[in-house]
């Protein structure tokens, strides 16, 4: 056995055997091994991590997925599942000694059931396509990650994707009913049910957000909601970021749960405006977008109330979208914030921490101090309603050492999120990217419990190994082992 360039063991005899057997299971065009065919699969949406897989398999039936898994299990070859590859944490980064299992061919909407307000989908169905298909019945699928035109429902489940409406309508975990999954051993399991709950342990919750570590998702049944009668969006400008933060708390305190509540700071506003021409007030230090939905009567009432609150909180300007086109335009600016920032800087690094909302002023102040210290500008985009902060650190990867400094800056932000009672990731997942930060958020005993959970599904550790949950050894090497009551966990372990 030799070792590949990325340090993973590779056994050429096993690999040749694997590829030969895969070709027996699948049609020729569904097994890719040429370098140029593998290239499109070398990374997901987090392109700083790239690696070519040993082989890409493109099954189109559940039986084929089962056969591939059985084969890989028998040969002890690791498997990484992949949807549209829009993930932002390197969760679908391939292994040079493993199979990249693409679910791209599972594209069919299997059934829409308007009577029970649910839809059954293959995992490769795009998020937005669900709502488009359900629209004819007055229904829609609520979670709307900003990549919704491209990302697929299977990936949404694996990452527990959110979106701008999740304060009111929840994340993926709140909007799915049933999954069909294939385990590493090739077993097909039905998890959850078409009913509102199912007997025994909530494996549906466990599977959602498990980042392809527990099983491969081959079918998803989602809950659909009635489209609200009306949605109205308000845009408020502030001359101070902290006043905008106060306004967010005041809206919630008034007993109103907006469908979406988003905040952008000056750098983000300017970039989004130049890109989308949404009519944002570019001299503002911060803007808030507040969407209210529900029945006509309720929206009218809430719009009046929220306008009043925004003015009282010191908004310099409050606009209400006059029609649907303007509402879409207000959102277009926000939804294009990432690509917009991509235009003003050679590279940007998107963070995804969550914090209790009351900590916003403190965290923003600290980020701006660090921004000066590192000499790296930051654009802040914030799902203000649910405390999910996306600071975008602007940098130039071609400048010597700038990526390393950016990563260090990012790490400090995530560490701060944990310190103030938040989390290192609100919606992008841990993947490869935040594997070290997991050591900050969790103690050794908690990480060990996660490994035990994985082993219950995948005893040999062949599914997406090395992602999402760090080994204790890795945490020791990273040097950020959580110190609990002044004691290091597992003092018997050697430290490096």
């Amino acid at each position: 056995m030799s070792v590949s360039e990325d340090g993973l063991p590779c056994n050429h005899d096993v690999h040749e055997d694997l590829i030969r057997k895969l070709r027996k299971l699948l049609p020729p065009e569904a097994v890719l091994t040429d370098k140029e065919d593998l290239r499109p699969f070398e990374c997901d949406g987090l392109s700083v991590y790239r690696r070519l897989p040993l082989v890409v398999a493109l099954p189109e039936t559940i039986a084929q997925v089962q056969a591939i898994m059985r084969l890989c299990h028998a040969l002890q070859v690791p498997v990484v599942a992949r949807g549209a590859g829009t993930g932002l944490s390197g969760g679908a980064l391939p292994l040079s000694n493993g199979v990249l299992l693409s679910l791209a061919k599972f594209k069919r909407i299997l059934h829409i059931d308007p009577e029970n307000a649910m839809a059954t989908l293959q995992p490769g169905v795009r998020n937005l396509a669900i709502s488009e298909a359900a629209a004819a019945y007055g229904l829609y699928y609520a979670p709307d990650p900003s990549s919704q035109i491209a990302c697929t429902i299977g990936g949404n489940v694996a990452e527990n994707s959110g979106g701008v409406h999740c304060l009111k309508y929840g994340l993926t975990v709140h909007n799915i009913l049933m999954l069909k999954v294939v385990t590493m051993e090739g077993e097909l399991l039905t998890i959850g049910a078409e009913t509102l709950d199912s007997p025994s342990y909530d494996l549906l919750a466990l599977m959602t957000g498990s980042e392809g570590m527990l099983a491969v998702i081959v079918e998803v049944t989602v809950k659909l909601l009635a489209k609200p009668e009306r949605a109205q969006v308000l845009l408020a400008a502030f001359d101070d970021v902290f006043k905008a933060g106060e306004a967010v708390g005041a809206i919630i305190a008034a007993g109103i749960i907006p469908a979406g509540l988003e905040m952008m700071d000056k750098v983000a506003i300017q970039a989004a405006e130049d890109f989308a021409h949404a009519g944002y007030p570019c001299n503002a230090e911060a803007i808030l977008l507040c969407e209210l939905d529900g029945t006509n009567a309720e929206v009218s009432e809430h719009v009046m109330e929220v306008r009043e609150i925004l003015h009282q909180s010191g908004a310099t300007e409050v606009r209400t979208a006059v029609n649907e086109a303007e509402r879409q335009l207000f959102w277009k600016g926000r939804k294009s914030a990432f690509p917009a920032v991509g235009r003003i800087s050679p590279d940007y690094y998107c963070m995804d921490g969550t914090i209790p909302r009351r900590q916003l002023p403190h965290v923003l102040r600290q980020i701006s101090l660090w921004s000066e210290e590192y000499g790296l500008p930051v654009a802040n985009v914030f799902h203000a309603g649910d405390g999910n902060l996306h600071p975008l650190i602007l940098f130039d990867a071609n400048k010597d050492g700038e990526l390393a400094r950016t990563e260090e800056f990012g790490q400090r932000i995530l560490q701060l999120c944990v310190e103030v009672g938040g989390s290192i990731t609100g919606e992008h997942g841990v993947g490869m990217e935040k594997i070290n930060q997991m050591c900050i958020q969790f103690k050794a005993a908690e990480l060990s419990q996660f490994h035990a959970v994985k082993a219950a599904f995948d005893p040999d550790g062949l599914l997406n190994p090395g992602k999402a949950v760090p080994t204790l050894q890795r945490c020791a090497e990273f040097g950020a082992m959580h110190v609990h009551h002044g004691q290091l966990p597992h003092p018997e372990l050697e430290r490096f």
């Binding site: 009577e115 527990n160 385990t183 509102l196 494996l203 009635a226 529900g294 938040g422 841990v430 419990q449």
Partner: protein, 354 residues
């Protein structure tokens, strides 16, 4: 309100149980002892582990110790104009937060607002190695690590001892009305299922004794308009009706025959099983009082893709919960072993071999 942290005492008790190989029976207010299978063991009483640890209404999050009485939590929330949106049943005066979450129970608002597990954001627990672990957190969005906190919901204490739970809370609606209409069960099912694709502010829907009940909630104007749109008589005493339904205090629930919880898709037409029916959750959760054998009830319900729990009455050492498919049971057993390797927590409460 009483505030006490006895997590160290509880942890010591777990350690001695591991040492002696004595199984433990976790108990809070003992209000839900009738649920699930019989379990034996030394009692681990969490009721003294109580108090609200944190509640900042602007964050929409409440954290409390597991032994905190549910009614204390509800009182604190009411004072802040908030509520537990899953409207948990108490089934007794002493119901605790821990028991509510461990049993995963939700009330009439569930199909419209979400279940107990939907509102759980994080928890602190003692696992079967006697370690105190934290999962999730106090923020609404958090995808770091597997969702162990939600796994605890409905696990009936078989995976660990819950110490603290963080929940998302919501503002109380400004107004609510209940509409009542006379109809058959089949008509009620059609009516309730049609509401799923209409933008109406309904947050509870049930069928009982020849009447369909719809609760409308939201702003004054929204409720008024929806009432005009949907029609029907307004029920004078709205709150008491939903409370007696939630707590199983309606005369329907006083029967010598066992009570079954039948879960189906909401639009499934009336099931032909002899007995009395009450439909809650817009038709998705159906209560059946029947003297038919459970095997026969399960067989019929399986034909429409549903499942059945023996909720009250009957023998408490059989298959109370719907049996699991074999490969799924294996995963359950491995998960149980991963949290509770010495098999000390609430053995057999859900399934004989779990």
């Amino acid at each position: 309100m009483l505030e006490r942290d006895i997590s160290e005492t509880l942890q010591q008790q777990v350690h001695s149980a591991i040492g002696n190989g004595t199984p433990l029976k976790i108990e809070g207010g003992n209000s839900k002892a009738f649920l699930g299978r019989e379990t034996h063991g030394e009692i681990l009483d969490i009721s003294a582990h109580c108090g609200i640890v944190e509640h900042d209404p602007r964050e929409l999050v409440l954290t409390a110790r597991s032994g905190t009485p549910l009614k204390d939590i509800e009182a604190a929330l009411t004072e802040a104009g908030q509520m537990l949106a899953f409207e948990p049943p108490h089934y007794g005066d002493n119901a605790t937060l821990g028991g509510t979450i461990a049993c995963g129970l939700s009330g009439p608002r569930r199909p419209f607002c979400g279940s107990a597990r939907d509102f759980v954001l994080g928890c602190k627990l003692i696992n079967g190695e006697g370690e105190i672990l934290r999962f999730g957190g106090q923020v609404i969005k958090n995808v770091a690590g597997y969702d162990v906190s939600r796994l605890m919901v409905g696990a009936y204490g078989t995976l660990g001892v819950l110490l603290e739970i963080s929940l998302k809370v919501l503002p109380r609606p400004a107004a609510n009305h209940t509409l009542i209409q006379e109809c058959t069960q089949a008509e009620a099912i059609r009516k309730m299922s049609q509401l799923l694709s209409q933008p109406v502010p309904v947050d509870a829907a049930c069928y009982h004794a020849g009447h369909c009940y719809l609760r409308l909630s939201g702003s004054e104007q929204a409720v008024k308009h929806a009432h005009e749109h949907l029609g029907g008589e307004m029920l004078e005493k709205s709150a008491p009706f939903w409370h007696t339904l939630r707590e199983h205090h309606l005369p329907f629930f006083d029967s010598a025959n066992p009570l079954y919880r039948v879960m189906v898709k909401p639009a499934v037409p009336p099931l032909e099983i002899t007995g009395e029916w009450l439909l809650d959750w817009g038709g998705a959760q159906r209560w059946l009082v029947s003297d038919e054998p459970i095997a026969l009830i399960r067989e019929r319900v399986a034909t429409v893709g549903g499942h059945v729990t023996q909720f009250r009455g009957g023998a408490h050492n059989g298959e109370i919960f719907q049996p699991l498919a074999a490969p799924l049971l294996v995963i359950h057993q491995r998960l149980k072993a991963s949290f509770d390797p010495h098999g000390i927590f609430n053995q057999g409460r859900i399934y004989a071999n779990l």
